[in-house]
């Protein structure tokens, strides 16, 4: 129910933002066709046809009703069906994003635990430095540096492009390594920092001291007693990270020229194709809300106390 309400509010925010943007969508629509053949009356008629002469609230509910039925409208410039185009591009963004997310979920906490357990040693210092650099490196810049080193200098990987793994898996892997690495950098770094911080916090607890006093081995203490408690804040972080990965695809897909949702929205913004931008943001927001819902469920599973509250 809460998630549904949030999606409704997002749809309202997106709709209002799009209506406030400069540039008349009708004129964009006309400009993309044959400009000479439209008279003022015809433009008026077109406005009526598209329902843009109705009050704003009515327009919103019309748009929402259509969106619920799977109709996000047509691109103002290219006249393609927005949902269909999103359907073509979403798998690409999700493929790269989810792989990056999975890598972040595994490597990040792993580095964090190693760092916390070896606190103050060179390994800890190394992980901390890498994590801090990973958080601060601008993704577009990191992408450019990788292209320079691995594509232009060492000539090991292609500069840009995307091939479906179903068409050519090897080519896909070569093209995807750099974008996935850049997308995963922030999740790895922030999950490592968060895990390190919460593992150190948990290791100070009395029950951990008791476990040590009982003579349990370090491995058992870390896996059975520390990890489950320390991973709680990390799970919360994952919901936010997925949002950032989807946001990050905007940058990555532009740098590596990947035909995903991020590229679609940037191209839409540059060409003022607002139906496309509106549709993409709505789909992104729904994806984020659903992923947050999954995180909440996972959270309840990890900490049963939450279910009783």
């Amino acid at each position: 129910m809460h998630a549904l309400l949030v999606i409704l509010i997002v749809s309202l925010i997106v709709f209002l933002l799009m209506r406030l943007l400069p540039g008349d969508p009708i004129l964009m629509y006309v400009a993309s066709g044959d400009l000479q053949s439209f008279s003022v009356e015809q433009i008026k008629h077109l406005k009526h046809q598209l329902g843009m002469d109705k009050p704003l609230l009515v327009q919103y509910f019309d748009w929402l009703w259509n969106a619920v039925q799977g109709n996000l409208g047509k691109s103002l410039l290219h006249r393609y069906d927005v949902l269909e185009e999103i359907g073509n591009r979403l798998p690409i963004t999700l493929y790269l994003g989810l792989l990056a997310f999975a890598i972040g979920c595994i490597i990040g906490p792993l580095l964090g635990v190693i760092s916390a357990v070896r606190r103050g040693k060179w390994l800890d210092n190394l992980v901390t430095v890498i994590a801090n650099l990973g958080i601060t490196a601008p993704p577009f810049w990191l992408g450019i540096i990788l292209i320079y080193v691995f594509s232009l200098y060492l000539r090991l990987l292609p500069v840009y492009g995307y091939t479906s793994p179903l068409v050519d898996l090897w080519k896909n892997l070569q093209q995807s390594i750099m974008p996935i690495f850049v997308l995963a950098t922030f999740p790895i770094a922030s999950a490592a920092r968060q895990t390190r911080s919460s593992v150190i916090e948990v290791m100070r607890q009395d029950y951990i001291r008791t476990a040590w006093a009982k003579g349990l081995s370090e491995r058992v203490i870390i896996i059975r007693h520390v990890l489950k408690n320390a991973l709680m804040p990390v799970v919360t972080l994952q919901g936010m990270l997925l949002r950032n990965i989807i946001g990050g695809s905007v940058i990555i897909e532009t740098v590596f020229v990947i035909p995903g949702m991020g590229k679609l929205v940037v191209d839409g913004m540059i060409s003022q194709d607002y139906t496309v931008v509106q549709g993409v943001i709505l789909v992104v927001a729904v994806t984020v809300v659903v992923s947050n819902l999954i995180v909440d469920v996972l959270y309840g599973w990890l900490d049963p106390r939450i279910q009783y509250e």
Partner: protein, 289 residues
């Protein structure tokens, strides 16, 4: 009496000492100060006018006259990086002040009054938070125009929900304290309680969040400028400099690497100082970050 003024000074000294006890925090403070000095005294420090096109010196390699070379229009890269610090700091500090001020007031109202006011504000906050900040800033920047002012408002809007949530959460716990009840019982008004009794007790996490967000704001601005939807050339914005340099990556990688390193340095510095402040203001966290 002189004795009365002593404790706060000692407290401040202790605060500074603890804050600067970690090497990376000292590095962060020095880096921020250096960038601040570079921004203020840019016209004196920069060897060239950042917009001057030296047509005989187009795409120069780093040399004694141009320490970081020149771009495709013959502009000195080092000078543009130095002037770029002005935009970075203005956007970083400005957006955070706007977002934190607005977020604090809205968060205070939501947390203090509760009920339907809380529900409406928090659901809208959840709604805005469902849109990735970069995407949101992208749309709002297009709405307001791609000048420094438009970009600042856009990024502030994207960062706003974080502050509302933070302050609201703090208020919910602080308002249960006995001193708030005591203030109520002696007849202090709602505004007085909110701003004089509750707000000061929410400041520590707010200061930490503000420092951290300065780095994020600079990153978002650089990303927008890189995409061509932020601050437009010829203004010396680091993000658009990286993009311009990208076209000459094979020939002059320094054109992209230089401004990128500048972004990284500033964001790193703000994050480290944020970590240090978090450590100092919350002793329980000391050593965990």
């Amino acid at each position: 009496m002189p004795g009365e003024t002593l404790p706060p000074i000692n407290e401040l000294r202790r605060f500074v000492r603890v804050l600067l006890s970690r090497g990376v925090v000292v590095f962060g403070v020095i880096a921020i100060l250096a960038v601040l000095i570079a921004a203020i005294f840019a016209p004196i420090i920069a060897p060239y006018d950042p917009d001057a096109q030296l047509l005989d010196d187009v795409l120069q390699q780093p040399n004694s006259r141009h320490l970081l070379g020149t771009d495709s229009l013959g502009r000195d890269t080092l000078s543009r990086i130095i002037f770029g610090s002005r935009i970075a700091l203005l956007v970083g500090v400005g957006t955070v002040i706007i977002a934190a001020s607005l977020g604090t007031v809205i968060g205070l109202i939501a947390g203090y009054f509760g009920g339907w006011i809380f529900t409406v504000i928090m659901r809208f906050t959840d709604g805005i938070m469902a849109i990735p900040p970069l995407l949101l800033a992208l749309v709002v920047a297009a709405l307001l125009g791609t000048g420094v002012k438009g970009v600042m408002i856009a990024i502030s809007f994207a960062l706003l929900p974080g502050y509302i949530r933070l302050i609201c959460g703090q208020v919910l716990s602080v308002k249960e304290n006995e001193y708030v009840m005591a203030a109520h019982s002696v007849g202090v008004g709602k505004i007085g309680i909110m701003f004089r009794h509750i707000l000061p007790n929410c400041l520590s996490p707010l200061i930490v969040q503000m420092t951290m967000m300065m780095g994020l704001a600079i990153l978002i601005e650089a990303s927008l400028s890189f995409l061509g939807l932020g601050i437009k050339p010829p203004a010396a914005a680091w993000g658009s400099m990286v993009y311009d340099g990208y076209k000459y990556l094979v020939m002059r990688p320094i054109l992209s690497i230089g401004p990128g390193l500048a972004i990284m340095l500033v964001v790193f510095a703000f994050n480290m100082v944020g970590d240090g402040l978090c450590d100092t203001l919350d002793p329980r966290l000391r050593g965990t970050l």
